[in-house]
């Protein structure tokens, strides 16, 4: 039944989908040059919210000599005052190969049985070996994510029971017969993110024979939904939640002791992603090599050596470790050991097959190892690590005015920032800059700009980029930084929750009024019969599990006038394979979990379908609007 539901929903959205691979897309806009070169799938551009619209602006923004720091022209385009800044590399590639994206969307029930669930997504993609993959991800990832979220929409949308008297905000979904596992909303959203990462990667793979080699990219994505923050990451971009403890009441100071700067001492970073480099993923990569030795084609060896083996060392003992070993052991050096290790180098210079510096992400389907021409993709995976933070659990005392510190400021950035800035330094810069601009609307933009400026540094007379506060080398890479004020999202979420509770209350009252009217008209008996008939009809469609019949008291503070509780049947419907084929059953999904108001006004199936169509059209329209904006 659910897949049917999804199918209908998807069909409704299809006209607005991004240019997904289909046979009729490759004709216009781009020609093949002499039959050699394939066209770009997307023309090169910077993120749309920067409004670098003309070729001249694009050109100027990529000035490798100056490396201008670009911030959004209109800072209101990003939600919650979110800051963004970027800067091009110092000449290692012609264009800035980083890309960023955001999207505001609403998950809405086509039948309006449940309140809508809004969400916001941010993504940052660091391209390599071309700009195509990062560009594709910034254009398409949010559409894919939306589809995967829509796939489980009926489990994600808030229900009346969510705010019931027991206040279960994070319910699990019991499927007593067909599923052995209880699945939480958290797991559904994490799963949606994970599967969206895989879909994005396959999409780039499908495009690879029709468009120019897209290269590859890392992906760091944050999703704000239902009062929670999720961060999914594949690759060496990073998300760090910068937090700060509230100021302690100042004690009388001993003037002889130099106190540490209270601001510096109170900031602390909380990593929300783990970097995936050949070094950090050595274990997984060596496992792949060990299990599928043909991938190395006798050119590489799945070993690590304490020192690089030379031909003169043959027959001698050398310290090494094999596969996933943690410790070291001796072995006698043979000719096989002279091959290049699958993972070599350390830290930022670690390389997979001597070629690639990241081990997860999208694309790279055509990437071959330097010198040997071995396929690298089998070693890579788009699988993200996903971390979550429940913002409803954050404790923040209003009087302390430390919301940014308590909820944190999420800094998502490509390795251009992290290569030269420690997490601690970044969190200090965040709060130092925020304290400099206490009320300005563009304060988070200033944070982003400051972070980029520090990582980019200054160019010296001999043309080298140096950090301002030391003589150390600044990054020569592209830098992109998103600075998200998490508390601003949470405020929005609270507002939404209140509106939704109010909306719920309104509906309940309307239903009660209807009931009362019907009772006055002496139709009460008919009403009850209709209700029973309704339930029976569902029983034919799917298996009805009567969970509880109870007196339902909803959200106490708002409920003043009507003290009389009503008898409500809460019904849960479960899928069975044969029913999922039935198109008809999709229409009754909503009614299965019907509450007082819906049960009171029994709708004919035909009109239900109509309202579903209307809802789908609305959804379509809202998607169009969103597309234009983004």
């Amino acid at each position: 039944m659910f897949s049917n539901f999804k199918e209908r929903f998807m069909t409704a959205l299809a006209p607005d989908l991004p240019p997904l691979p289909s046979n009729d897309r490759s004709d216009h806009h781009h020609r093949r040059f002499g039959g050699q070169q394939m066209p770009d799938k997307f023309p090169y551009a910077r993120p749309p919210f920067l409004q670098l619209l003309t070729a001249d602006e694009l050109r100027a923004s990529a000035d490798h000599n100056v490396r201008p720091i670009i911030v959004p022209r209109d800072i209101n385009l990003l939600p919650w005052g979110t800051g963004y800044a970027e800067c091009v590399n110092s000449g290692k590639s012609e264009w800035n190969e980083d890309q960023s994206a955001f999207c505001r969307q609403v998950l809405s029930d086509p039948e309006h049985k449940h309140p809508d669930l809004p969400y916001t997504y941010f993504g940052i993609f660091d391209g390599h070996a071309g700009y195509g993959a990062a560009l594709a991800a910034s254009h398409q990832f949010h559409h894919i994510l939306h589809e995967t979220l829509v796939d489980c929409i009926e489990l994600l949308l808030p229900r009346d029971t969510d705010t019931g008297e027991n206040g279960r905000l994070n319910p699990t979904f019991p499927h007593p017969i067909y599923f052995q596992r209880r699945v939480s909303k958290d797991e559904l959203i994490i799963g949606a993110l994970e599967s969206a990462f895989f879909s994005m990667d396959s999409l780039i793979a499908q495009d690879s024979n029709r468009y120019r080699d897209a290269g590859g990219c890392t992906a760091c994505v944050s999703l704000f939904i239902d009062g929670k923050m999720y961060v999914a990451n594949a690759g060496d971009s990073r998300a760090v939640l910068c937090q700060r403890r509230a100021n302690q009441p100042t004690e009388p100071k001993d003037s002889s002791v130099i106190e540490p700067d209270p601001l510096e001492a109170s900031c602390y970073p909380v990593p929300f992603s783990a970097d995936h480099t050949p070094e950090t993923e050595r274990e997984r990569l060596l496992n792949v090599a060990r299990l599928k030795p043909h991938l190395m084609a006798n050119h590489y060896v799945a070993m690590e050596y304490a020192k690089r083996p030379h031909i003169k060392d043959m027959g001698q003992r050398i310290l090494c470790r094999q596969g996933t070993m943690k410790g070291w052991t001796y072995k006698t050096l043979t000719r096989d050991d002279l091959r290049m290790p699958v993972v070599n180098g350390e830290g930022k210079r670690s390389r997979l097959l001597g070629t690639l510096g990241v081990s997860r992400g999208f694309g790279d389907h055509e990437l071959l190892a330097i010198n040997t021409g071995i396929q690298i993709k089998p070693f890579l995976t788009p699988h993200p690590d996903v971390r979550q933070r429940d913002l409803t659990q954050v404790v923040s005392i209003p009087d302390e005015h430390n919301q940014d510190g308590d909820y944190g400021v999420l800094v998502m950035a490509t390795d251009g920032l992290w290569d030269v800035s420690e997490n601690e330094a970044v969190s200090r810069t965040v709060f130092q800059t925020l304290s400099k601009y206490p009320t300005e609307k563009h304060r988070y933009t200033m944070v982003a700009q400051e972070l980029v400026a520090r990582a980019r540094g200054k160019i010296n007379d001999s043309g080298h980029w140096r950090l301002a506060d030391s003589k150390a080398a600044a990054t020569v890479d592209d830098i992109s930084v998103i600075v998200i004020p998490v508390y601003q999202y949470y405020k929005e979420h609270i507002e939404w929750t209140q509106n939704y509770t109010r909306d719920l209350e309104k509906r309940r009252r309307r239903a009660q009024a209807n009931m009362a009217q019907e009772a006055q008209e002496g139709n009460l008996l008919n009403g009850v019969i209709a209700e029973e008939a309704h339930v029976e009809e569902e029983e034919e469609d799917g298996e009805v599990v009567v969970l509880e019949a109870k007196a339902q008291i909803q959200s106490e503070p708002l409920q003043l006038p009507h003290a009389e509780a009503e008898e409500v049947l809460v019904v849960e419907i479960t899928t069975s394979p044969e029913q999922s084929e039935s198109r008809e059953s999709a229409a009754s999904t909503g009614t299965a979990t019907a509450t007082a108001d819906e049960e009171a006004s029994v709708t004919a199936p035909a009109s239900q379908r109509d309202s579903a169509t209307v809802a789908q059209q609305q959804q379509q329209r809202s998607r169009k609007g969103n597309k234009g904006k983004h």
Partner: protein
């Protein structure tokens, strides 16, 4: 469209003197009375003709606020011309010229042509800085001077074009090393009919220049 030269300009001066409005008037021929604070850097471009040669001006409009100064400084590099702007109705913006000039001289190449601009000449009734004072400052520091109005467009064209003329003369005299892009001058690719520099056969550039579909 092909050009013989590309000159890079930077516009500097205190916040609120009308830098962004000057740029908008020059590139778009329009005036926007309410303009948001420039936070980063804005880019503009326009083609002009000097001595029968097509010259493209690439203009970087910077943030004027003191807080942005350290970032703005990095943009002097690689500029062939600078418009140093003050507001004739606000004396303090004139007083700050020395600081701006020091900054510019320190961070730019020594041949950069600097044009001093007293903006908002349409607000003569509220004038706080006499034209003669501007002229004297320019003479003293070896700058070209002009009063402009971004609102009425008075002298805006002239300010940008005269600066370009000066740069062009310096090129003719051999003062500028035009082969070093760090000087803010680029020789155009004369042989290519369309802008070849954008990847993917550049949608925007191609469309704008062909004139029709």
């Amino acid at each position: 469209m092909s050009y013989a030269y590309l000159f890079k300009y930077i516009i500097i001066g205190d916040t609120g003197v009308g830098k962004s409005c000057l740029l908008l008037q020059f590139t778009d021929k329009r005036f926007q009375p309410v303009h948001d604070l420039t936070i980063g850097v804005e880019f503009g471009a326009r083609m002009i003709t000097i001595d029968g040669k097509q010259i493209k001006l690439q203009i970087w409009d910077t943030a004027g606020q003191e807080a942005f100064r350290s970032i703005t400084r990095s943009y002097y590099r690689g500029a062939a011309g600078a418009l140093l702007v003050y507001d004739i109705t606000r004396r303090e913006t004139f007083n700050h010229l020395t600081t701006w000039l020091e900054d510019a001289r320190q961070h730019s190449n020594s041949n950069m042509v600097i044009m001093l601009i007293g903006n908002k000449s349409d607000l003569d009734s509220r004038r706080e800085v006499k034209k003669e004072e501007g002229e004297a400052f320019a003479r003293e520091h070896g700058l070209v001077f002009m009063e402009t109005s971004a609102r009425t467009a008075a002298n805006v064209e002239e300010a940008f074009i005269n600066t370009a003329k000066e740069i062009y003369e310096k090129i003719q005299e051999g003062v500028f090393d035009i082969n070093n892009e760090a000087n803010g001058i680029k020789i155009g690719q004369q042989h290519s009919p369309t802008n070849p520099s954008l990847p993917g056969s550049g949608g925007a550039a191609g469309a704008a220049n062909s004139g029709c579909c």
